[in-house]
């Protein structure tokens, strides 16, 4: 039915690293096709969290005792690990946040608050997740800036031919997603950054769906900001990253005030540290950062190129097989796509389909996927999304197709 993966990784063996994959749902072996929402966690990450709390737990950057040194060292090593993972020249350019959403809000508030004026334009795309849309709407409301959008073609790619008219000198920032969470579209980030820079705009890349799935280097992409979450790349929830070029970060005011981010505090005024600590007020998610570093180690051991190859095969195979089903419309580009496929079926609404599938142990997501404007553009109220990661198999996709056939029969 399908081709064997060309790479040498033993993908089946990797499943053993994920205890949760042995779970059952409604008496059936779990098939987890919702990794675009959050990925599962390998034992290495769970162990790192436990090890931290058992042997290193203390607050960072303030105690003079042994545990505090250990915790601080582990936390700052995690920062270095993240920097190396994304090709950032310096660990100072890595700010730990709660996730992609907080990273983007940080830029919208701290950078946008200082540099955006009435009449400026923030350029976005119609395929943005609400987390890369709503923060800019709030900024526009506060400042009188305007939002502009790159339209999406029927095939799920961006209308790049519109860029010359959209990218005018009023554009101060072009913020866009690397991989669409509904369509799977992989946007040409380096090209978009180059074109934005040509008119003097900065760029922000939402890497939530790409960071754990494909090789990515901020110097090659030449982006100014990059935002992502740990939990979609085998890491814990509640930890994320904002990468920003150091000179830009140091030109931005703090956004949260509190401990850890100050140099000195008087009753009427304070002075602030440089990046990254300027943006990390309060006790950070220390264990989360350490768990994220363990996730990076785990992913790097497999190799992101191999993961991308594996996941692309799954997505292509799923796309191919979904077209066998009567009355099924598959969204997104046919050729190259990220590790997910969104579709609708004439016979069943996405919510009915996901409820039905869940009864067979198949976890998918139905709805608008925080992409309401994109859904409107596609002319649907929602889609069903099957999203994959390296622990998924072709056999699981075969099983999904069987379940969907049963659904067609049941709902028709």
């Amino acid at each position: 039915m399908h081709k064997v993966a060309a790479s040498t990784v033993d993908w089946k063996a990797l499943r053993e690293d994920f205890p949760i994959l042995r779970e059952q749902a409604h008496g059936h072996q779990l098939i987890y096709f919702d990794s675009a929402a959050t990925s599962q966690k390998p034992r290495a990450v769970l162990d790192a969290l436990r090890n931290f709390y058992e042997h290193e737990n203390a607050n960072v950057h303030r105690g003079l005792h042994t545990l505090s040194s250990r915790a601080t060292e582990a936390y700052e090593k995690a920062r270095q690990r993240v920097a190396a993972y994304i090709g950032a020249p310096s660990a100072e350019e890595i700010i730990f946040t709660r996730g992609t959403t907080e990273s983007i809000n940080l830029v919208a508030q701290a950078w946008g608050g200082r540099f955006i004026r009435e009449g400026d334009v923030i350029l976005l795309t119609v395929m943005e997740h609400h987390s890369n849309l709503v923060p800019w709407q709030l900024l526009a409301e506060r400042t009188g800036a305007r939002l502009r959008f790159v339209p999406v073609r029927d095939d799920g790619t961006l209308e790049l031919e519109q860029l010359p008219t959209l990218l005018t000198p009023e554009v101060k920032l072009f913020a866009f997603t690397h991989v669409s969470n509904s369509l799977g579209t992989i946007n040409p980030v380096a090209e978009l950054c180059e074109k934005a820079h040509a008119v003097g705009a900065l760029t922000l890349v939402d890497a939530a769906q790409s960071i754990g799935h494909l090789p990515l280097d901020v110097r090659e992409l030449d982006c100014d900001f990059l935002a992502f979450s740990g939990h979609k790349m085998c890491g814990p929830t509640g930890i994320g990253v904002l990468y920003g070029r150091a000179e830009i970060l140091n030109s931005m005011p703090p956004w949260h005030g509190g401990g850890e981010m100050i140099v000195s505090v008087a009753l009427d005024k304070s002075t602030f540290k440089k990046t990254p600590h300027r943006f990390e007020a309060g006790t950070p998610n220390i264990a989360g950062a350490i768990g994220l570093a363990a996730a990076i180690d785990y992913i790097e051991e497999i190799g992101r190129a191999a993961i991308f190859e594996h996941d692309s095969q799954l997505a292509r195979y799923a796309t191919e097989r979904l077209t066998e089903l009567p009355g099924t419309r598959v969204f997104g580009p046919k050729e190259e796509r990220g590790a997910l496929v969104g579709f609708v079926m004439d016979s069943a609404h996405p919510h009915d389909l996901t409820t039905f599938a869940d009864q067979f142990g198949l976890a998918m997501r139905g709805g608008h996927h925080c992409n309401q404007p994109l859904m409107r553009r596609l002319g649907v109220s929602g889609t069903t999304r099957a999203s994959f990661y390296f622990y998924n198999t072709m056999e699981e996709i075969d099983r999904m197709i069987e379940i969907l056939h049963a659904a067609v029969h049941f709902f028709k």
Binding site: A348, H349, P350, H351, D352, T355, Q359, F360, G367, H368
Partner: protein, 154 residues
């Protein structure tokens, strides 16, 4: 087939979702309510005409959504046509209880609506079943004109 699935999607429900009754425009409606489930994009447009005593003389709907919300709207309109305000209010309460309360007996007065009982095992689907009822509740409150109602109050 799996028992829970068949309990949720009973043949009557599937039938009503495929061929919803009272589906269409109501020309001389006194009140029109646009009901919205922003969590999934489902919507219902409910139109109601009242009789002299304020009862539901006629009620129709259009919209799109999942089998549960469509069937719920279809069954609801059949049940509520010709009912007094007090009866509608009581039925709204009883229906909410039917789809949310794991332990309660389904009251006979609900009639065909009792096929919706399977929803109680699927808490994430309660909003789908309740969407048309929220709309009718709003219609009674509003009395005339147009209104919108959402399963996620702003």
């Amino acid at each position: 087939m799996i028992p829970e699935i068949e309990e949720l999607y009973q043949e009557v429900i599937l039938d009503h979702s495929r061929r919803p009754r009272n589906f269409g425009e109501l020309a001389d409606a006194a009140v029109r309510v646009h009901g919205d489930n922003p969590a999934c994009g489902d919507e219902i447009h409910l139109a109601v005409r009242f009789d002299a005593d304020g009862g539901l003389e006629n009620i129709k709907f259009t919209g799109r959504g999942c089998a549960i919300s469509q069937a719920s709207a279809s069954l609801m309109t059949m049940k509520l046509k010709g009912k007094s305000r007090a009866e509608v209010t009581e039925m709204l309460r009883a229906f909410h209880d039917l789809v949310t309360n794991e332990t309660s007996e389904a009251p006979k007065s609900l009639g065909d609506l009792r096929v919706m009982q399977g929803v109680r095992k699927f808490p994430q689907r309660v909003k789908c079943a309740m969407l048309p009822w929220r709309a009718v509740e709003q219609a009674l409150e509003q009395g005339a004109g147009e209104a919108t109602v959402s399963t996620e109050p702003a």
